[in-house]
Amino acid sequence: MSDSRPTSTAGPDKGRFVIAFALAILSLVVGWDAWRLSGINTYSAVGPGAFPAIISAGLALLALANAVEAVREGAQERPRDEIGPMAWVLGGLIGQIVLLAFGAGFAIATGWLFAATAKGFGRGPVWGHFLAGAVLCFVIYVVFAKGLQLALPAGPLERLI
């Protein structure tokens, strides 16, 4: 709490404005879905659209409340976030999904996730970590497949066993 507790300066808080805006959009989406559901004839006393309608209204009110607080509390100075390291971690997660989608298998995809995360935290080399991660994940794969009979996504490496 303490390190990120921002200090207040002039002007509205842009970040929270964006959040308020996002809440308003979410409220519209949920509300639209509620409206669509209310058109469907079901037998039950309270239909599937009732709760979405309430939640949509709540979200709309919260969008308003967040916008008001953004103005009242003023702009906040938040420490800058470092984009580079974050990109590595996100690249690791996205890369894992892409590699799995292309059938690279659990060991390779998750080895990459490990290497990219380590790199994001400033530890290289990516290749060494990738190899270590892939070996570790291969062992995990074997334990799961043999010990638990649970099939994790298989790729060229996993098909060797």
Binding site: N41, Y43, L150, I161
Partner: protein, 321 residues
């Protein structure tokens, strides 16, 4: 090492396959269980795996779980990725028939090659022991008087329990849309609400109510089978009470789309051998599953009939257009 050998054998088998049927023994089989580990379809798949391997009908069997959306996610993956592949099969069941319709699934069971129905369960209607409803006739009278006053506890909306309740109501000439159906997410929860007398009747597979009935806590009014069942000889069928409804919550195994008739023949034979094996009989007894094996054209016809009937009743209940 064993797998390397079986892999090599597989390669040899593939190479040898065109030479003659004698060599076309199945060495490797992947069974997709379109449900999370532990559910009925998963247990069916793993039982098949166990028997096929222990009786050496197939060299190596793997079960792959692809859960989600009443089995339609697994079905879609199966239809899309295993066309013409004779080494992949999928387990499914009656629940899938309904899920395909209510989820507006882009794939359906006409896109796979059904091999055989393996096991099945019948639906039962039960009331708490203290209920004033003593027989199916009482239930029919209550439904005719005011269908809204009769609350039914069962599984999720649009599932087998709901469909059976709809069919029952329709068969006695009451609008199935008026069924006051209360969906519960688990068997335990719906059973608890029935035992606690919170709902009028419960509808579920017979096995869920059997033990409670034996202990005198519930009274089973009727079952959805064609004839009385050996495990509950005192319980009348719906038909005996003049309600023309017969439904079985079955489980089946199907092969990939686009396989050759010879491949289909071979898979059918393997499954038939399995069903006739001692290990399978023991497995069914252990799990308390009834053997309702049906294959070939008889199964195809039954499947088509079930799909058509389900389509109609789901429309009548208001769950499908």
């Amino acid at each position: 090492m064993k797998h390397l050998v079986s892999g090599a054998l597989l390669a040899a088998a593939i190479a040898a396959a065109p030479l003659g049927a004698a060599y076309a023994e199945i060495n490797e089989l992947k069974i997709i269980a379109p449900a999370a580990p532990g559910g009925g379809w998963d247990q069916t798949a793993r039982s098949i795996q166990h028997v096929l391997q222990s009786d050496k009908l197939v060299g190596n069997v793997q079960v792959l779980n692809v859960p989600g959306a009443g089995g339609t996610i697994g079905l879609a993956q199966f239809v899309n990725s295993s066309k013409g592949d004779p080494n992949v099969m999928i387990v499914g069941g009656y629940v899938m028939v309904g899920a395909i319709i209510t989820n507006k699934s882009p794939v359906n069971l006409s896109m796979v090659t059904p091999i055989a129905r393996l096991t099945g369960e019948y639906e039962a209607i039960a009331v708490p022991a203290a209920s004033p409803l003593k027989s199916l006739a009482d239930l029919v009278a209550a439904l005719k008087a005011d269908p809204q006053k009769v609350s039914w506890a069962g599984g999720s909306a649009g599932g087998t329990d709901h469909i059976t309740a709809g069919l029952f109501t329709k068969a006695i000439g009451v609008d199935p849309r008026k069924v006051n159906y209360i969906a519960f997410s688990g068997g335990g929860e719906s059973l608890a609400s029935l035992l606690g007398g919170k709902v009028t009747v419960g509808i579920s597979s017979l096995s869920e109510y059997d033990a409670q009935a034996k202990a005198g806590k519930l009274r089973i009014l009727g079952v959805s089978s064609a004839a009385r069942l050996p495990e509950a000889p005192d319980v009348p069928t719906f038909k005996e009470a003049g309600v023309d409804v017969e439904i079985q919550n079955w489980r089946m195994i199907a092969a990939a789309p686009g396989i050759t008739p010879a491949q289909k023949q071979e898979l059918s034979q393997t499954i038939e051998k399995m069903v006739k094996s001692k290990a399978w009989t023991e497995m069914l007894a252990q799990k308390g599953w009834a053997n309702t094996y049906l294959s070939g054209e008889a199964f195809d016809a039954q499947l088509a009939k079930d799909i058509a009937a389900t389509q109609t009743i789901l429309k009548d209940i208001g769950l499908a257009q």
